[in-house]
């Protein structure tokens, strides 16, 4: 696996500002998700939501290297991807509450946030449901020669869906600028991935000729460094890549998944939180390298907190769509 340590040259290229920005992004995502959990427990949010807490370094590390007009597709666990690509928390919360001000005017909800302004082709509630869409966006980028790259985020559970292999084959045959970012957080819902996944995950990419790498998904600098190489490669027309990001979700499969003992131990959860937390790892590095002082990080944290709190308030106060809107947007 690639770790930042192994590639100082990557670090040398990146500026302190980048890591401060990454810190801010990861903190915002975490605070956002904590609020989502809170909205659920306070019965203010309809339905369920899948929290990204613990996996922040993957979305942030990858999106940090993308252009605003690059494309991403996301999953049922998509809040982190959307925020990392530039979505604003207030309209995200509004969508989660089914409000008119939401990114999808309330029609999509937590699993369908989409936003052309930030190149977000949409979160998707079908496992592997967006792999075709991401590959198609890369196809457009190649046909239109606009230099864009598409990143397809998906969980390791999506490795069970055959369509993933169909599109990886197409992407490699046609040298499409698409990165398949596999977030292995160890579980498909309530089942450990080892019970559902034969062979080596990285071999799933190489089997179709894709340039394939694995990275520590808790180390935002490592993710960024690796993603940067793969994205630049794709932009140069050298073809798609498969990037395995090893990570972990701290919470349940969704906000309602409270008692998890039957499928994983508290001890396992504790270890990841204590030893592999992406925000903590970046903080320690930033302070250890004396690149920032605690005061700055505290200020960023409190700024983020007030932004998120304001966003929640905005969403709660926002109006629902007019009933007539139910018939709108079926056809363009």
């Amino acid at each position: 696996m690639t770790t930042a340590a192994q590639r100082p040259e990557a670090d040398s290229k990146v500026t302190v500002e980048r890591w401060i920005r990454a810190y801010r992004r990861m903190v915002s995502i975490r605070l956002f998700e904590e609020q989502v959990n809170d909205l659920y427990t306070r019965a203010l949010m309809p339905g369920l939501a899948h929290l990204y807490i613990g996996e922040e370094a993957v979305a942030v590390g990858i999106c940090e290297t993308l252009r605003p007009d690059d494309y991403i597709t996301s999953t049922h666990r998509g809040h982190g991807h959307c925020l990392a690509k530039g979505a604003s928390p207030d309209r995200m919360f509004a969508e989660l509450l089914g409000k008119e001000a939401g990114y999808c005017r309330g029609k999509g909800g937590s699993m369908h946030i989409a936003d052309p302004a930030t190149g977000n082709l949409g979160a998707n509630a079908i496992v592997a449901g967006s792999v075709g869409i991401a590959t198609g966006a890369a196809f457009s980028a190649k046909q239109l020669r606009d230099g864009r790259v598409a990143v397809c985020f998906f969980g390791e559970g999506a490795l069970g869906q055959g369509v993933l292999y169909e599109v990886m084959n197409l992407a490699q045959l046609w040298k499409l600028p698409v990165i398949y970012a596999c977030e292995n957080n160890l579980y498909n819902e309530y089942t450990h991935y080892s019970e559902t996944t034969a062979g080596e995950i990285t071999a799933r990419g190489t089997a179709f000729g894709l340039h394939t790498e694995a990275v520590d998904g808790q180390d935002v600098r490592a993710v960024y460094a690796t993603a940067t190489r793969l994205v630049e490669r794709a932009r140069r027309g050298e073809g798609p890549a498969f990037l395995l990001c090893n990570t972990y979700r701290y919470h349940g499969h969704h906000v309602g998944d409270i008692n998890r003992d039957y499928y994983r131990s508290k001890e396992e959860e504790r270890r990841w939180k204590d030893e592999r937390d992406p925000i903590k790892l970046l903080t320690d590095w930033l302070l250890g390298q004396k690149l920032v002082d605690q005061a700055l990080l505290d200020r960023i944290l409190s700024e983020a907190r007030s932004e998120i709190e304001a966003a929640v308030k905005f969403a709660i106060d926002a109006p629902y769509p007019r009933p007539e809107e139910v018939q709108e947007d079926v056809y363009a």
Partner: protein
């Protein structure tokens, strides 16, 4: 005499599976998170403990793959019951079910059988948005070689599922995910319910409401409202869309002369169209008014509660249509 035993819809499903798995060692269950988790809806809780990992198998997220595997397993001696978590995901299994399962018996000149069951869900209003709220049973009802079951009560669920598991053909069994907690009487004694036999859930004189699955409770509620206006509604549930009990539906229509068909699938090109056509033809000379169809609004199901709630028929909307059909206003 003692109170009849009550079970929830989910318990009735589980009991049917457990009884059939005890009766026949060839019955096994395949699906995502069906074992330890007992499905996200907890419908299968306890089956793993009783029957073990050889007969209750967690699969990868490969709906096409494990459905196809079940087709082959059914052809070679097993009676697999596959679990497709949300009915929206049958989109991934259409080739296995329609080009394979449904046709194997016919294409082989009757040589191979496919005794498998696909259990899946239907129904909206769970705030799950467009990809987790569809009721797509019309598709399978359209396909020769398949049988399609739509239970509306715990009693029917248990009896029909046992029949499905014993059937020699591929059967698709749709469960309303909002109904799992609904309670109803289910006798201790063994029983099965034959396919193709509609059930009159409430007898009436003035109007027939044909209702399936999730819409049965809605129809019964509407019937109660109608009662207050001295309109006597008959509520009939075909229980299986294929085979379809045309005779019972037509006879009810001939008796009441007014009909509403309510089903949670999309209104257009859906189950209501077939049932309405069968009745309009069979009771042509007795009908006093056109057969009315009520289904899901022709839109992808929206997430926002105030929008989603307008997309499916309700007690009140059925009541209003019925009143009008009976010339009240």
């Amino acid at each position: 005499m003692p109170e009849p035993r009550e079970l929830t819809f989910a318990q009735a499903i589980r009991e049917a599976l457990a009884e059939e798995m005890r009766r026949d060692s060839h019955v096994c269950i395949l699906g995502e998170d069906v074992a330890e988790a007992g499905t996200p809806f907890k419908v299968l809780s306890g089956l793993l403990e009783e029957f073990g990992t050889d007969r209750v198998l967690d699969t990868p997220i490969s709906e096409a793959g494990f459905t196809g595997l079940a087709v082959g397993a059914a052809m070679t001696g097993l009676r697999p019951v596959v679990d497709i978590m949300f009915g929206d995901f049958i989109t991934l299994t259409m080739d296995q079910m329609v080009n394979q399962a449904a046709k194997v018996h016919y294409m082989s000149g009757g040589k191979w059988n496919v005794p498998m069951v696909m259990r899946t869900t239907l129904g909206a209003t769970r705030r799950s948005a467009a990809q987790h709220s569809q009721s797509l049973h019309a598709w399978f009802s359209h396909v020769p070689g398949l049988k399609v079951v739509l239970p509306s009560t715990p009693y029917d669920a248990k009896g029909l599922l046992k029949t499905a598991i014993r059937d020699q053909n591929p059967v698709v069994f749709f469960e309303d995910k909002m109904m799992y907690k609904l309670k109803g009487p289910v006798p201790e004694e063994e029983y099965t319910i034959p396919f193709g036999v509609a059930d009159i859930k409430r007898a009436g004189r003035d109007i027939t409401i044909v209702a399936t699955s999730s819409m049965l409770q809605v129809a019964l509620g509407a019937a109660t409202l109608l009662q207050k206006e001295e309109i006597s509604a008959e509520v009939i549930d075909p229980r299986t869309t294929w085979p379809l009990d045309e005779k019972a539906l037509i006879e009810s229509a001939q008796k009441t002369s007014r009909v509403i068909v309510v089903d949670e699938g999309y209104g257009r090109y859906g189950v209501t169209a077939e049932i309405a056509s069968v009745i309009a033809e069979g009771a042509f000379y007795e009908l006093d008014a056109p057969v009315k169809r009520m289904g899901a609004m022709h839109v992808p199901i929206p997430f926002s509660p105030p929008l989603e709630d307008t997309t499916v028929p309700t007690e009140n909307s059925v009541f209003e249509v019925a009143r009008e059909l009976c010339g009240r206003s």
